[in-house]
Symmetry: C2
Subunit: 539 residues, 2 copies
């Protein structure tokens, strides 16, 4: 692909989209090349379509000149590749302008949205129109795309936390410009298009998640009716090994439907990093965090080795009954605390008063952190968790922006899936902890009970991106962790752009079939080449 | 395809499978040609593989001689085509011999099964091994395949009633003999293969349901932990138009998670047909059932125009709380009755006593019907619902077999999906009722709340297969119903072998894409040609 050809394509794109929606100046290219990973990729241009027709035109030109295009929704895929394509020289299609909330059905509790709709936008829309529905949001902040997270099979916090499981009906632009509607949606008059996911015939929606088979332009998502009663719960356990008993105690509660929310279990480091930076001053700049200091910080914040949050939704009677069951199930392990709106308001007043008295200290920070978790459990987006991406970053100025990219945060996520047993949690923790230490990093770990039977462990490698040696160590650490989890059979639920080719190892047939479907639906391999396509046959 | 070629193929198949597993004698061909539909199809042969290797050999020969093969699990797809292929002259692969329960994990509550595993087999296995897990079964009887129903996206009764939603991990033999494992299963050491459905990369499982892309040979299915407390509930409403209020009252209960089971709503005729035949003697052989007589039968049995059943699962506290909510929500409509094991036992004792006194009458029949529903809600398979398939059949001898095919039952099912609103239920009922009457049939109807937002209406055309005129009318009635529901936007969730080509009408792009994927995964169109493939390009 020569520069000449790109120029020809760009002029065609400009003719269709207008100049302001085709970006290729240095500043824009740089902006879209940034990554929290050690290495981003550099796009050829950024295209900002406003409609399906625009996308069809983009694809036509891309096919004509054999230029790869790479769709993003909002580009907030921090820790996994941000707004970057898998390879250099692709034209990014930034779908941010396509941000209509196309439909909300308050009776059947669903929305149809476009890729650019942000978490904050959807939240505000529901609030402002007094629609008593909640959507499940992630900790990725107000500006992240609801859509993008779902296609990447992300998860949140509420009973609607498994995002793909709560979608129904897609509109997909295929590389040849055809518009495919899934479920019942391809029958133009279908009345159950956004309420019955399977449709008739093969269920195709799954094909367009974690893949590169088409550009999804509309998505039906299910919303949760605001419950009559809501309680968050939290508890901690003192020892690292207690993760075994925690998981064993929680599994029956999830399996029996007593707890229908996701349950997040964060280790002490992950909690601490959510409201403070690495204590460079206390370690004289040394890494990793000494065990003594870790324990001190843990004690000071009154955290456990593992800290658990979840929530109960339902009628007063249901929530009361579930509270009893949870307390009983955890009795020998921890005292479970429950919090509702009233209790939180009181706690905040006490916090304000302490601050007024100048005796607030940790309490206020913790309270703020707790409040953010509490809100996520109610589907309210928050910026609070950006803080965790800056643990090892040294020069920070979050007054201008809290976006990890604006702060040059060094962040890689790796997220293996485990069966929901204490033994698996313990084994994984034992496998990864020494690897973090070997490269002078702290194991920042959450383990989330994402379904009734499975857990996703999200491991954070937080590193100082200004330090080339630390950055190199971060890469080595990531690679070693990747190999270790694959070897142990804990396959990730999602990966970063740097790891796509690693997926082929140890697998048979599956990725060949994926590649064959790719060649069927995108003959010229125009869309998002290499994305979840480790065996691409055209390099 | 000449007879000569088939003979060559058969001799190859016999060499691999052994003679007793390749059937082509007249009796066998006839047996596999039977259908409850007006017209079955005639296979070229029946092949009974015992392993994946056998299937690979079968496919190799089929490809060599261009013979279409058609896999069935147990062939109990009554009302939709039974064991018949979509077209004549295909070789049926009867997977019944592959009936291993490969694995049961009592901790993570799942099973891995082969296609031949029957409902009774799985139920008995769990009982005999004292594994406190329930599986969701359908009314299709003890000998129906768990697997086949799931691939056809059938539904049952419990909170695990949406069958595909409760599967995880498939093994699929592709037409070229490759064995594809979905989810995480293609990594041979993956620990979460049967607990985390999505795996990594595109989710392919949906492709192998309601399709003809491969032969699924293993399936992970999730099982429900036996609840500590179980209550079935039921109630009736007097008028046909009450369906509106019933659906409006139940929707919030489903959406809020108060009721997690499926809820079945059967009209009077459907209930009556479940324990008695068409009263030929009272109508002097005339059809359809006069309105007077319908009302009389309804009154005699103490049924409503609509009769609702569902169940509550959980702790004692949860079930008690849900009971209150249901009673309150339905207060102005009906008195909801709850029943548990103790109450059922007492009722049965009273029934026995009445029978002893000779005053049992309707009560005992109803009780037996109630007990069967009660058991289905607990995942216990029953033959009781076969009776409903014989409503219009005149010469019946169920003492030998209760299989609808052995009794030459005339039965067609048509099952449109509706959004869960009272208005939709009412509209559909109003559309279809006159069509049934036009052709002298009774509208036997159930409406099931299959998800939190959608309902499936199963309409039964029960006809006397010995009567060619009535059979012809049944076909006309079915076709008219099919056109009417499609026109109104109520698309079926599943269809019979006679209707595959009807699916293309009113749809765009979707079925083209399906056909393209078919050609990719099964280049020579060997497997189940025409099944959910209305736009097959090679006839």
């Amino acid at each position: 692909m020569t520069e000449e050809i790109v120029k020809l394509a760009i002029s065609e794109w400009e003719a269709v989209l207008g100049q302001k929606n085709v970006l290729y100046d240095d500043a824009s290219i740089n902006r879209y090349s940034r990554s929290t990973l050690p290495q981003g990729t550099t796009p050829a241009a950024i295209l900002r379509p406003g409609s399906v027709e625009d996308i069809q035109s983009i694809l036509k030109t891309a096919t004509k000149y054999s230029i790869n295009i790479y769709p993003i929704s909002r580009g907030k895929n921090w820790g996994y590749g941000d707004a970057c394509a898998v390879g250099d020289g692709q034209a990014i299609i930034d779908l941010g302008r396509m941000n209509r909330i196309v439909e909300i059905d308050p009776v059947l509790a669903y929305a149809v949205i476009e890729p650019g709709v942000t978490q904050l936008q959807l939240h505000k829309y529901l609030k402002e129109n007094k629609i008593p529905l909640w959507f499940d949001c992630t900790g990725a902040g107000p500006e992240a795309s609801v859509f993008g997270n779902t296609l990447e099979r992300g998860f949140g916090h509420t009973p609607y936390g498994d995002h793909l499981l709560n979608t129904c009906g897609m509109e997909v632009v295929l590389s040849d410009g055809r518009v495919l509607k899934t479920g019942f949606g391809h029958y133009s008059n279908a009345k159950a298009a956004n309420v019955f996911r399977w449709g008739i015939g093969p269920y195709l929606d799954g094909l367009f998640t974690q893949s590169n088979f088409g550009i999804v332009t509309k998505l039906g998502i299910w919303l949760m009716p605001e419950p009559r009663c809501f309680n968050a719960f939290f508890f901690s356990v003192p020892e690292e090994k207690d993760i075994f008993s925690v998981v064993e105690a929680l599994r029956p509660l999830r399996l029996q439907g007593t707890v229908r929310s996701l349950v997040h279990i964060a280790n002490d480091l992950r909690v601490i990093s959510s409201f403070q930076h690495y204590p460079w001053e206390l370690t004289n700049g040394a890494t990793p965090l000494p065990e003594e200091l870790r324990k001190k910080l843990r004690r000071r914040g009154n955290f456990g080795a593992w800290n658990v949050t979840g929530a109960l939704y339902g009628s007063k009677g249901q929530v009361a009954s579930a509270r009893n069951e949870i307390s009983n199930a955890l009795r020998s392990l921890a005292k479970v605390k429950f919090i509702n709106d009233t209790k939180l308001t009181i706690a905040k007043k006490i916090g304000d008063f302490c601050q007024f008295l100048g005796i607030a200290g940790e309490f206020v920070g913790m309270l703020r952190s707790l409040e953010s978790v509490y809100n996520l459990l109610k589907g309210v987006p928050t910026e609070a968790f950006f803080h965790g991406t800056l643990w090892r970053t040294k020069e920070i100025n979050t007054t201008v922006s809290s976006d990890p990219l604006d702060n040059n945060a060094g962040l890689m996520w790796l997220s293996p899936v485990l069966p929901m047993t204490g033994a698996a949690a313990l084994e994984l923790n034992d496998i990864v902890t020494p690897i973090f230490k070997e490269y002078d990093f702290e194991p920042l770990i959450t383990i989330t009970l994402i379904t009734e039977r499975a857990m996703a462990c999200v491991m954070t490698i937080s590193y100082n991106r200004q330090d080339p040696i630390e950055t190199e160590k971060a890469t080595l650490c990531y690679d070693k962790l990747f190999d270790a989890i694959m070897k142990a059979g804990y396959i990730p639920y999602r990966i970063g752009i740097q790891s796509m080719n690693k997926l082929a190892k140890g697998s048979s047939v599956f990725w060949d079939v994926v590649d064959e479907i790719k060649r069927t639906l995108d003959q010229h391999q125009i869309i998002a080449k290499g994305r979840y396509q480790p065996k691409s046959r055209r390099h």
